[in-house]
Amino acid sequence: MDLEREFERVVAAEHRVEPRDWMPDGYRKTLVRQIAQHAHSEIIGMQPEGNWIGRAPSLRRKAILLAKVQDEAGHGLYLYAAAETLGADRAELTRNLVEGRQKYSSIFNYPTLTFADVGVIGWLVDGAAICNQVPLCRTSYGPYARAMIRVCKEESFHQRQGYELLMTMMRGTPAQREMVQDAVDRWWWPSLMMFGPPDAESANTEQSMRWRIKRHTNDELRQRFVDMTVPQAERLGVTLPDPALAWNAERGHHDFGEIDWAEFWRVVKGDGPCNAERVAHRRQAHEDGAWVREAAAAYAAKKRERAV
């Protein structure tokens, strides 16, 4: 009980919790779940954009995109490492992902249909991710907070690159401008869904906020994202596909239309356009690589034996 009181005091005082510190089981489990889902999202997130590496229409864009997808693999690695400091096992987390027992961000269950999607993902999806993640740089668990600092630093770079691609395309041909608008139309609502269900229906928010794992509610972050994005859309010259979107001077925020929560839950529960494909791709890579990982382990074991 004293340990628990001490823990509550530490997090309430905004101190960091470190791997060897005592922590309640619920805190540990919540973090492992959240960090693992985050890591899985980075890894699954390699696929929609990876879809365009081979076809990127300039060498500069190809290099930027390949570097970005590589960064996502790197983020997955830091995050799995952070989860391991809580006693989780990366191999087991990977099994949870490929066997569909653990989730990842639903945004990656949508297809990337044109090269403009690469830019829009950078702008909107990375933009939403940054809104979600910047507060996590101050989250109570030290290794997660530190991993998030690196992740956010790189995500902000990706967002800028995405926006810059769209700016360039908007200055291009009419066909390019149409392509950008079409991509914005497809990604806008799923991006808003990235913040999760409305606060009233968010099961984990309250406890997570008390433990300082989470620092803002889903709806607060969503509002912040909308407010940030509207002027960017204007500068870009695209229309966000929401007739209800309007500045509300009284609130000092933008009002926006109702999110299709039925679609949100459908995709979360596995029936989005690409859920099956994304997991199957990951599972295939994992299975195809099994003999390589076994070989590396066998070789390391032989080396150790010889060293003795």
């Binding site: 890894i43 390699m46 990876g50 590496i53 081979g54 076809r55 990127a56 229409p57 300039s58 060498l59 500069r60 864009r61 190809k62 290099a63 390949l66 570097a67 997808v69 590589q70 693999a73 790197g74 997955g76 690695l77 799995y80 090269f115 910047v134 507060p135 740089c137 101050r138 998030m148 600092i149 956010c152 630093k153 902000s156 770079f157 691609l165 360039t168 395309m169 200055r171 291009g172 041909t173 066909a175 390019q176 912040r224 940030m228 791709h281 990951r282 295939q284 890579a285 195809d288 690589g289 003999w291 390589v292 990982r293 076994e294 070989a295 590396a296 066998a298 070789y299 390391a300 032989k302």
Partner: protein
């Protein structure tokens, strides 16, 4: 809004750029004039040869992205592909600049047809993750390619073309890492399980059939004495490197018949395998289907 970057930026850097603004372009300050006594057309072709090798190999390596056996390898192969893509961009830009016909790196990469590509066939064949190979075949190709290119680039640092010399000086550090990475995997796969050893031998055998072409002197290389490296000169050195790796892995050098050239002509002359057309179809599709677009 929280600004996570403030604590991260180095002293004096702009806080809204997460990595600061302290980049310098590659090859800043290098003399870019055409060296005396050099035939413009020959230097263009030579830059295309070295540039296309890097571009096509990068395109193949990038196919692994999100499909590698482990995440660390996704990162490593992407890294190697990025290094090669960087080399390709410098070399194609140099080709465009020497050619002086209003083309740039993208016009050369995206708007040339199959017969105009000058890469060796080794880099274009499917070595996995496609059905034509697997991780071991990819590693076998990377070992051979990086050992050869490193030897060529080491000599190229003394090129009479300051741009090629600078590209080579930058590239050798990268290629040494690529070669080391491949060699480590050859040891692991050859010394891991029976199955991985079998795959490694099969992979080496598959790529070995394309190795003679690497050491065949092209007339352009002869014409560019002092500027280009004669690949025949590095044959012994590369063989020694490969033998060292193979013997550490307790493997024999594959004994295979070389894939024939067509009336003496192969990749360097724009005569390729059937694989290149498909690879270029993917690489060039978007760029070609939107004429006048800017990216």
């Amino acid at each position: 809004m929280d600004n996570a970057y403030e604590a991260l930026a180095d002293e004096g850097e702009e806080k809204h750029w997460a990595f600061g603004t302290g980049f310098t372009a590659a090859l800043t300050g290098v003399d870019r004039a055409l060296p005396a006594g050099v035939e413009r057309a020959d230097l263009v072709v030579y830059c295309l040869m070295l540039g296309d090798d890097a571009l096509i190999h990068a395109q193949r390596l990038a196919e692994w992205c999100s499909r590698a056996p482990e995440l660390e390898e996704d990162v490593a192969l992407a890294n190697i592909a990025l290094d090669l893509l960087g080399q390709a961009r410098l070399l194609l830009s140099r080709a465009a600049e020497v050619e002086d016909a209003g083309r740039d790196e993208d016009a050369l990469a995206y708007l040339r047809d199959e017969r105009e590509f000058r890469n060796v066939r080794l880099v274009e064949i499917d070595c996995g993750p496609g059905p034509g190979g697997d991780f071991a075949t990819t590693i076998a190709r990377l070992l051979v390619f990086s050992s050869w290119r490193l030897a060529v680039f080491q000599r190229l640092t003394a090129s009479a073309d300051p741009v090629l010399a600078a590209v080579a000086a930058k590239g050798i550090k990268e290629l040494a890492y690529h070669r080391d990475h491949a060699a480590q995997w050859v040891l692991r796969l050859a010394g891991g399980t029976d199955y991985s050893r079998e795959r490694m031998i099969a992979g080496l055998t598959q790529v070995w059939a394309y190795t003679d072409e690497l050491f065949t002197t092209h007339p352009v290389e002869t014409a560019l004495g002092g500027v280009a490296v004669d690949p025949a000169d590095v044959r012994a050195e590369v063989a020694e490197v490969l033998d060292t790796v193979l013997s550490a892995a307790e493997l024999d050098r594959p004994e295979v018949t070389q894939v024939a050239a067509l009336a003496g002509r192969a990749g360097r002359d724009g005569v390729h395998t059937q694989a290149l057309g498909h690879l270029l179809a993917e690489l060039q599709h978007v760029a070609r289907s939107m004429p006048g677009a800017v990216w």
